[in-house]
Structure formats: structure tokens, C-alpha cells
């Protein structure tokens, strides 16, 4: 299987070959450098006219991308580190996300802003964050995250060519080097997607447990850690925890949540995200899950797992203590039994 990086890179190559409207822009994305994380490698050689290296101007990168999108192109912009996304926050929220609706649906702004997020690389407080939670809940703005259980290249294609609205595409730095996974032993994989929420949720259910002991929700870079925790909990503790992985972070894929909750009747629901969970992604998922659970006359215990509510330190040991991993997840789950 290709790595996430390879999948996204190949996805970009394929999209640019398929559709001449696709334009790539960002800092340091030209060959031979090919971007800080090498995601755009080879593109400027293959499509020299449609790969634009920019000055260090995150706001204008997104602004220019909006302009391109309004005039019929399909720009994919790279923000070198997702930590810098706030620099383009006004462009994303007051320009890109607003135009279609405030111009009475007479225009479309199909643009993608790719943003590598996440810690565990020792990059320190300003280069390790997962700040996507702050861009969720903006009307008109989509937030989408690929992961190792999905098809990152296909997801990027979907965001670029099939979605007519601006999408922030959250990539996990630490997943770039990981190979994709199509199967998990002892678990059945289902994909949930529909017209309203087209970016798929992947549901992994234990084959041997009708009603599992728990259901875990996560996205993006937390998938490897959750999978590791789930494997350990099953093998070593005999606990069957199912896993629901969303790729559509915003707008909330309410229909996916409903379907998962209706299928998985666990009395324990766990939510794992890398950022501090306070006002995080999981709060909204929890709110919708509990609504569905109690609406169907059941009850559940909800446990949220997130990073420490501090910036992310540079030092290795300090950082490891700040960001949640498999061990933290296992401990929190075991606490419930």
C-alpha cells in the first residue's frame, strides 16, 4: 500500500492531469524542493504553468485562491504548517466561505486549502498544533481530514473536483509516512457517505461481538493511535471497541452519526482527538451522539480524550506527555470497566 504522502501526491498528479482547472499554489512547492513535506513533489516539473510558488503570504495565498475559484479554476493551496491557518482565517471565513451564500448562490468558490497539522515531531509550540477545531462550525466552510483507513488521494480529489465550496484539508504530519490500511484483522470495515455528507465515515466493527463494549470516534492523525489501543484492548483485555473515523469534520456529518449510533449500541462512547478537547471536535460529536442515543431510549457514558490544555512543548518527553497516544486511550478506556 502507498503511504499517505504518496497517496496525496499521486492524487494531485492525477487531478492535474485529469482537469486543467486545477492550479496548485503555496510556499516552496516547486521542484526539486517539492514543498516542506514533499507533498507537491514532481508537480511543478509535470505542470509548470499550473504550480505557483508564492511569497510567504498565507492570507494572500488563500485570497488569490478564492479569486481563482470565483473565476472557474479549482485551486489547491498549501499552507506550509497548519499552525499558520489563522493568518488566512479572515480570508477563509469572511471571503471564501461567504461569497456563495451572500451573493445569493450566484457564485461558487471551489477551493482547497491543504494544511499539515499535528505534533510528535518536536517542532515546538508554533509548528505542532492541531488547530482545525477553530475552523469547524463556519457556515459555508468544509473541514475534511484524510486518514490511513481511507483513500487520501481520492478524498482530495473529491474535495477539489466534486465539492463546490471551500474545503480546509487537514493532513497529519505524522501520518505522511504511514502506509494505508485497507483491512483490520477481526474487524469489518464499512464506509458511510451520502449526498448531504459526502466525505465518508469509516466504521470498523469487531466481527465477534454483536454489541461491542464500546465505540470510539476519531479522525485524521489519531487513527493509528486508536487502532493500536483497540488492538491492545481486545487482545490483552478482551474488550471489543468499535471505531468510527470521520473524514468530514465540518459540517458535522449528522446522518453518519445517526447511522453509527443506530448500529452500535455500546454503552460507552469514547472520543479521541489530538488537540485539547476543550471546545474541540469531540464536543460536537458528543452532543449529537448523546442526542441520538437518548432519543432512542438508551443511555451511554461519554469519555473525551484530548491533548493537554497547554501549547505543545518542543522537548521530546514534554511533548509526549502533552499529546494523547495509545497508552492514554487504553488507560482511559480501562478506567471505565
Amino acid at each position: 500500500m502507498p503511504t499517505v504522502l504518496e497517496a496525496i501526491n499521486q492524487g494531485l498528479h492525477a487531478m492535474m492531469a485529469e482537469d486543467a482547472r486545477v492550479v496548485i499554489l503555496g510556499e516552496d512547492i516547486l521542484d526539486p524542493y517539492g514543498g516542506a513535506f514533499k507533498v507537491t513533489r514532481g508537480l511543478s516539473s509535470a505542470f509548470p504553468d499550473r504550480v505557483l510558488t508564492t511569497p510567504i503570504s498565507e492570507a494572500a495565498i488563500v485570497g488569490v485562491a478564492s479569486g481563482l475559484a470565483l473565476r472557474g479554476l479549482r485551486p489547491v493551496a498549501e499552507i506550509m504548517f497548519g499552525d499558520f491557518l489563522f493568518l488566512a482565517g479572515d480570508q477563509l471565513t469572511n471571503h471564501a466561505a461567504k461569497f456563495q451564500w451572500m451573493f445569493n448562490d450566484q457564485v461558487r468558490v471551489p477551493l482547497v486549502v491543504r494544511a499539515p497539522m499535528g505534533a510528535r515531531r518536536g517542532y515546538g509550540p508554533t509548528h505542532s498544533q492541531s488547530i482545525e477545531k477553530h475552523f469547524m462550525g463556519v457556515p459555508g466552510l468544509w473541514v475534511v481530514a484524510p486518514h490511513i483507513l481511507g483513500d487520501p488521494g481520492g478524498l482530495l480529489r473529491q474535495a477539489t473536483l466534486e465539492c463546490d465550496a471551500p474545503v480546509v484539508f487537514i493532513e497529519s504530519k505524522t501520518c505522511y509516512g504511514r502506509p494505508l490500511i485497507s483491512e483490520v484483522a477481526g474487524m469489518t470495515v464499512t464506509e458511510i457517505a451520502d449526498h448531504v455528507s459526502p466525505f465518508p465515515t469509516v466504521l470498523l466493527r469487531h466481527d465477534r461481538a454483536a454489541d461491542a463494549d464500546g465505540l470510539m470516534w476519531c479522525y485524521g492523525g489519531m487513527v493509528p493511535h486508536c487502532l493500536e489501543a483497540i488492538r491492545h484492548l481486545f487482545d490483552a483485555e478482551g474488550l471489543a471497541i468499535d471505531l468510527a473515523v470521520t473524514s468530514q469534520l465540518s459540517p458535522v456529518p449528522a446522518s453518519h452519526i445517526a447511522r453509527v449510533v443506530d448500529e452500535c449500541h455500546s454503552a460507552l462512547v469514547v472520543y479521541a482527538e489530538e488537540a485539547s478537547a476543550e471546545h474541540g471536535w469531540s464536543a460536537e460529536i458528543l452532543a449529537q451522539v448523546q442526542d441520538r442515543v437518548s432519543g432512542s431510549g438508551r443511555a451511554a457514558r461519554h469519555v473525551r480524550i484530548g491533548g493537554a490544555h497547554t501549547p505543545i512543548p518542543s522537548g521530546r518527553a514534554l511533548e509526549a506527555a502533552t499529546v494523547p497516544g495509545a497508552r492514554d486511550i487504553i488507560a482511559r478506556v480501562l478506567d471505565c470497566f
Binding site: 492550479v23 504553468d49 499550473r50 505557483l52 508564492t54 511569497p55 503570504s57 492570507a59 494572500a60 488563500v62 485570497g63 488569490v64 485562491a65 478564492s66 479569486g67 481563482l68 475559484a69 470565483l70 473565476r71 472557474g72 479554476l73 485551486p75 479572515d90 480570508q91 469572511n94 471571503h95 461567504k98 461569497f99 451564500w101 451572500m102 451573493f103 445569493n104 450566484q106 457564485v107
Partner: protein, 310 residues
Amino acid sequence: MSAPVTAGSPVRLARCDRASSAADRYALLFGIRLFEQSLLDLFSTGVLAGTTHTCLGQETVAVGVVSAIDRACDIVFSNHRGHGHFLAYCGEVERLYLEILGKTGGVCGGRGGSQHLFLDNFYSNGIQGGIVPVATGMALAEKQRGSGAVAVVFLGDGTLGEGVVYEAFNIAALWQLPVVFVIEHNGYAQSTPSALQIAGEVAARPRAFGISTRECRSTAVDEIARHCAQAVDAARAGGGPQCLICYTYRLGPHSKGDDTRPGQELSEAWLRDPLKTARAVLDETTAAAIERRVGAEILAARIRALEATA
């Protein structure tokens, strides 16, 4: 308000292009003036809510600049003070009334309102500065597809405070994009005079980025049109981004009644009202006839808009 309203297509003002006569230009200038004065009236009588920024005194910039573009392809990106730009672009006065009144027949169905307009290749947004990179990106799109179109974006002098403007200047110059930055330098941002907002020379700023910059110190509509035509032509011919600085003055309040400028400064400025100059080149009969005709159009548009049910 009970005048009979005729059916038919919405009331439009006649637009101007490079070849328009002084009479046609005056008609449009006068229409914009009348339209905006009526907005202030509607506010003061409580018919209109929200906010509005009128371009009283700056109409010649709107008409001069927009008459220089090629409406078949060129793009206009306007800002908070955009009614004049909009009317100069398309003349859709009734649908602008409807929009500002929040009615569904407005150009954006009442969603956008005064500061958020769209029609054909006209766009506006009420966030200062942020539209500049967007217009720059549009110019890039047009350049990529070889359409020959030029993007014109309006910004006020106070908006030179926003950093993203310089990000856009830099990119436009680096990539030699067909964009014209029109700076309407009216000496104020809201209540604040330029001296408290702008360090150094305004023209030095775009020039520092290698942008060819023209200054128009006349408020005469034909002078502005002439300067803008040069800028648009240069941008279209591949000369890269252009900047046009139009020195002007806002005769009305910043938005509704919030004017704290010295009374004498204002009354002197009214003496130099560019509409007077534009009228002066016409004979009195022509001018009066224009005013009657345009006055009737504006009135009709207003009545129809006010009577529209939703």
C-alpha cells in the same frame, strides 16, 4: 408612495463607457447622487435599517473608473462604499434599492445588502483589504486562461492600513497580473484623517512593489476616466499591475450621521463638488432636462422597490 408603478423590467440608469458624452456622464453622476441621498433620507425616516456608506462627492471616481473598463469581460471588485461603483457598472438602480431594502428581488436576494453586491463580473465585500488578494487571484485566473480581462479593485486610503493589501501588491507585481488597484484617497478613514493613518507618501507604497502608479489629482470625471483608461490599457497589454490613486473627498458622512469633520472644511468642499463641475459644461436646459429625467427614474425605482412585497 402611492404613485402608480408600471410593470416591466427593473429601472436601470444608463451606463457610460469611454465614448460617453459629458451629458451622459452627468446623468449617471446625478443618478448616483440622487440615489444615495435618498438612502440617507430612508435611513433618517427609519424605513431603512442597518448601515450604508454613500459616495457623495466621489461619484466621479466611480463613473470615471468604471467607464474605462470593457464590460464584456473586465471584473470590478468593490468595497464598503460601492453603490457608485455598482451603478456605474450596471445601472441597476431598482434592484440595488431592493437589495438594500432586504427584498428578494435585490441583486443578492436581500442577503448581501449594501456592502455585499454581486452581478455579472461585479463583486463587493465589506471587509477592508481582504478583497485585494481576491481580485488579484481573479486577475491571475484571467491571465491563465488568456481572456484579456482586467480586474479593477477599489480601496480607500485608510485601507492601506491592512497588511494583506501589500501581500497582494507583491504577488500581483511578481506575477505581472492584469489588475488595477484604484485607491480612492478621500483623506479620511471613517473619522480619522489620513495623517493619523498613513505614514509616508501613498504613491510610494505601490511603487515600492514595482507597480506602475498614476495619480489623478483632478476630480473631473473625464480626467479620472482618462487616467483609468491608461491604467486598464496598460494592464490589458501585459504591463502588469497598475495603481491609480484618485484624490477625492467624501461630502457625506462616513455611514449615516457620523460626521465629525469641521463644518468649514465641509462647506468649502461642497463648493468644489465635482458634480457642479460636471454640470457646468452643459447648458442649463440640457442639465435641467437630465435632472428631471433621471430624477423620475430614481423615483420610479424607489417606489417600485418600496412597494415590492418581499
